[in-house]
């Protein structure tokens, strides 16, 4: 809805982000907590176990949870500080409505909800049901994800529902479904410990999944060779046995060349290929010309290193291949994933102890959230919204007529494009901050300025919600019970530590009330989270992501259950494919030919430098949570431009100089950080910030044709030093301990 209602400074003044710290002597009563609540960290797909200290219905601190098997008390800095949100001055405590020229003013729930419902009805009546869209996120629990999917289809009756997993795991999900017919990592982290060779491709484990590091280090203690594929020497790459500094966009060339080396040297598992896979010949035909010289040119990696990596991988008896956003955030993200899977299938190392493959899911509930139907093309149980049988089954569970079930809608970025074109007029978001997290965000902002009605549900006022007509205060991770599925496919229990403060409500209560007002209250008659979960179990039954046999009690007793778990007496499935029966229609694992393609934007005379984006350890996603936690901000207060000294020298850039980075989509100024730990042709900017510091002003909105993931990880830029020196404080607090 148009521009901001008042100056951005006044909005920030009222709603933050402000830096929250623990008082010097702790929060009142921290020494004598009323209770310790066993739950999980809200950040990242590891979902580390943690105990929250609660005093007088406020979260006041944490205590490590030593018994939870994945992390045994270990946490990253975000986890240690996660308790600082419920007690935060920026926490939204009441509904707010936009008042032109003034900003946001408190309003009553009654007014807020009735206005929302009348606007939904007005827009849908005049522009069609799909003109009102919903965007969601996978920091939500399984219960809420499921409910959002149902809410959009049953209450809003719109096809246009999508989620921020679209910026996260969809390439991996699409690739896995193509190859295996199922979207989950094949093994638990335990199987890393005795893998002989570990390849981690495009995943800065040390900063984005710090607690996973322990498993990789243990493998190395046991003699594993670690191969890291990354344009930068990340902390996990620093001591790696082999670091392949790939040029952004060159991943599938590397994996293609490695596949060719495996074939040329017959480092293959013929028995596995012949009996349990299909499409091998087409796949190796596709890479037959990808020799080392070609690969060196395409990837920028010395040929000897590629050869070495292939040899280690080829000769290993056990292995684990992991990848994440680094290879997935591309207009050929699915191709990159498939080219990794080809390496795994060619050597047949899957479905056995210490032989694994998978993506490292990024978001808190990135795994569970992508299974139960708040994707535009999906229904619970990882069912397909275009499949008549799937539609029929879910319609029955939901008690609606199958004809009423909307079809496949637009993906997240396509929704934004449709808003920009004027086709979508109204929007409800929950747990999503697209203005920071989507590429080419100047375009995204224009879209938001065109919405007729926009309502945002969130616990803090994020950058996107500043454009909202109405803000509904929802619940934090620790304010509502539910379940989450971790990156290894383990369904764990999130326990409610406190009730939502002030007038804030549980997210699910808000959705239920809206559903009632939209006339479908009978379809949302949940009294508690467990009711929703029990319905989800039934909805997922028979799907690939089958949760039917998982109960709250079973989760608590076993500290998590691995899906698929089709019946209550089933113990869950920590390791997939031990029976080599894949979930594809023919029951085989599929090789997929991956001919190499260039990224959508390559460097040229005008934009001669490769730009890539990524994360830092102290921030999470769009930062709407972590940029409010003082110590996390102080650790890395604002984005720096990582640049190799040789490249910097060409432009006369010195450490700490301000540099304007320009792309065809926008420009932004960052202090330069001269480091030898990045490729000489590439610059890196972390993306967690909004406004003028947002790296996503520069990134490109090209989507993968299959997964619709945007190409965050590569575009072309030019560098223009501004001639100014960035203020010293940035550098000091960014580099040093405090």
């Amino acid at each position: 809805m148009a521009k901001l209602p008042s100056s951005v400074e006044s909005i920030i003044d009222q709603f933050g982000p402000h830096k929250g710290y623990t008082p010097k002597e702790g929060f009142p009563g921290v020494h004598e907590p009323d209770k310790l609540v066993k739950t999980h960290c809200c950040f990242c797909g590891m979902q580390c176990g943690i105990q929250l200290k609660v005093k007088d219905n406020k979260v006041t601190g944490f205590e490590p949870w030593m018994e939870f098997p994945f992390n045994e008390g270990r946490l990253c800095p975000k986890g240690v500080q996660r308790y600082l949100q419920n007690n935060h001055r920026d926490r939204l405590l009441a509904p707010y409505k936009r008042v032109e020229g003034k900003g946001f003013e408190r309003t009553s729930w009654e007014e807020a909800l009735s206005k929302t419902v009348s606007e939904i009805q007005r827009i849908q009546n005049s522009h069609g049901r799909d003109a009102f869209a919903m965007l969601s996120g996978v920091s939500l629990t399984n219960e809420k994800s499921y409910m959002v999917g149902k809410f959009a289809r049953v209450a809003l009756k719109t096809a246009n529902l999508d989620y921020n997993g679209r910026l996260c795991m969809v390439s991996a999900g699409a690739g896995n479904k193509k190859a295996f017919g199922l979207d989950r990592i094949s093994n638990t982290w335990e199987d890393l410990k005795h893998a002989e060779v570990i390849i981690i491709a495009g995943t800065n484990v040390s900063e984005t999944f710090p607690t996973l590091t322990h498993y990789i280090w243990q493998a190395r203690d046991n003699g594993a060779k670690l191969i890291v594929i990354d344009p930068r020497v990340t902390p996990i790459a620093r001591t790696a046995d082999l670091h392949l500094p790939v040029r952004p966009g060159g991943d599938s060339a590397l994996f293609g060349a490695m596949l060719k080396i495996l074939v040329d040297n017959d480092w293959l598992d013929h028995d596995f290929i012949d009996n349990y896979t299909s499409g091998f010949q087409e796949s190796i035909d596709a890479v037959k010309d990808y020799d080392l010289a070609w690969a060196e040119e395409k990837t920028g990696i010395p040929a000897a290193k590629i050869q070495q990596a292939a040899e280690w991988w080829g000769k290993a008896k056990t292995s684990f291949l992991l990848h994440a956003r680094g290879i997935e955030h591309h207009s050929k993200g699915v191709d990159n994933v498939l080219s990794c899977i080809n390496l795994v299938l060619a050597t047949g190392r899957i479905g056995r102890p210490y032989c694994g493959y998978g993506t490292i899911t990024g978001q808190g509930n990135g795994q569970g959230g992508r299974e139960h139907g708040h994707k535009c093309d999906q229904l619970p149980g990882n069912r397909d919204i275009t499949n008549p049988e799937h539609r029929k089954y879910i319609s029955e569970v939901w008690g609606i007529d199958e004809k009423e079930m909307p079809g496949k809608g637009l993906s997240a970025y396509e929704i934004i494009e449709a808003i920009h074109r004027g086709e979508i007029k109204g929007l409800i978001t929950i747990c999503f901050n697209p203005l920071v997290s989507l590429p080419n965000n100047n375009f995204v902002r224009e879209a938001f300025e065109k919405l007729e009605y926009y309502v945002a549900i969130d616990f803090f006022l994020n950058e996107t919600a500043r454009h909202a007509d109405l803000i509904l205060p929802g619940s934090l991770h620790e304010e509502e019970e539910g379940t989450v599925t971790t990156a290894e496919g383990r369904v764990v229990k999130i326990n409610q530590a406190v009730t939502p403060p002030g007038e804030a409500r549980k997210d699910s209560d808000i959705l239920i009330e809206l559903a009632q007002r939209l006339g479908v209250g009978d379809k949302f008659a949940y009294k508690k989270a467990e009711d929703t979960f029990n319905e989800l179990r039934v909805a997922s039954k028979g799907g690939t992501a089958d949760y039917f046999g998982i109960t709250y009690e079973k989760i608590e007793k076993n500290m998590g259950v691995f899906w698929p778990c089709p019946s209550e007496d089933h113990p869950g499935t920590p390791r997939l494919w031990e029976d080599k029966k894949f979930k594809t229609p023919d029951g085989k694992a599929h090789f997929n030919p991956v001919p190499y393609r260039e990224p959508s934007e390559v460097v040229d005379m005008e934009y001669p430098v490769v730009m890539t984006t990524g994360r830092v350890v102290s921030q999470y996603l769009s930062g709407s949570q972590t940029r409010r936690i003082g110590k996390l901000v102080d650790q890395y207060p604002e984005p720096l431009l990582e640049i190799h000294p040789k490249l910097a020298y060409q432009y006369g850039i010195k450490d700490g100089d301000e540099v304007m980075v320009k792309t065809r989509r926008g420009e932004a100024v960052f202090p330069a950080q001269l480091v030898e730990t990045i490729r000489e042709d590439t610059v890196f900017i972390p993306y967690h910030w909004g406004g003028k510091q947002s790296a996503n002003q520069l990134t490109i909105g090209t989507l993968d044709p299959v997964s619709k993931i945007p190409e965050f990880k590569v575009c072309a830029c030019m560098l223009v030093p501004t001639g100014k020196i960035a203020s010293i404080k940035i550098k000091e607090s960014a580099f040093q301990s405090f």
């Binding site: 008082p23 270990r74 240690v80 040390s206 990340t234 902390p235 620093r238 110590k631 480091v675 030898e676």
Partner: protein
């Protein structure tokens, strides 16, 4: 300070090459009840321009602590468990002798408070049979707290070393640094 729950079988082992520089230890250190939201552990890049190598430093708890010896106010004491305690708040005069003399660069001076503070290995936790905060949360286990048997089993090709040479000076410590198998000492300067 006489706590029967202090387990003397438990030792502290550090391996800086495992450190991923995430600062979890630093955040968790501030949660230790003896420090009042001040962090005592040091974590920083060694030389960021050329490497992402970080180092992490807890108090090594020397057998004969230089800090205590150079303290003009008798503010630093070592207890029966070998734990070198942070400055006694009533005695410390904030002179910084310990800060500058410690060969490991551990003590911190809180300028306004005119007080030196340092790691006491989370005495509130270790004296109650728990692990120190930093070693509990450390996601890479660069900081490890456990028994000698445990570490030998987990890291068969490393040896804990607690003898450090700074020029002529030999410093022996309670805290160990994990070194290549068979090492007996770590020489800091050639």
């Amino acid at each position: 300070m006489q706590n029967p729950q202090y387990n003397q079988q438990m030792e502290f082992f550090v391996d800086m090459q495992r450190c991923i520089g995430c600062h979890a230890c630093e955040m968790a250190c501030a949660e230790c009840e003896t420090n009042g939201q001040e962090s005592m552990i040091h974590i920083h890049y060694v030389e960021r321009a050329v490497s992402v190598q970080t180092t992490v430093q807890v108090c090594m708890h020397c057998d004969d602590p230089v800090c205590a010896n150079v303290c003009p106010a008798d503010a630093i004491t070592k207890d029966d468990f070998g734990v070198v305690h942070t400055a006694n708040t009533s005695r410390c005069i904030g002179c910084s002798n310990c800060v500058l003399a410690c060969p490991f660069g551990v003590p911190k001076k809180e300028e306004k408070a005119e007080l030196m503070m340092k790691c006491n290995m989370c005495y509130d936790r270790t004296s109650a049979g728990k692990k120190p905060m930093c070693a509990t949360v450390c996601p890479s286990q660069a900081l490890f707290y456990g028994t000698r048997e445990e570490i030998e089993k987990l890291r068969p090709n490393s040896t804990p070393v607690n003898k450090f040479l700074f020029g002529q000076e030999e410093v022996n410590t309670k805290v160990n640094i994990m070194m290549p198998k068979g090492s007996t000492e770590l020489r800091i300067h050639d």
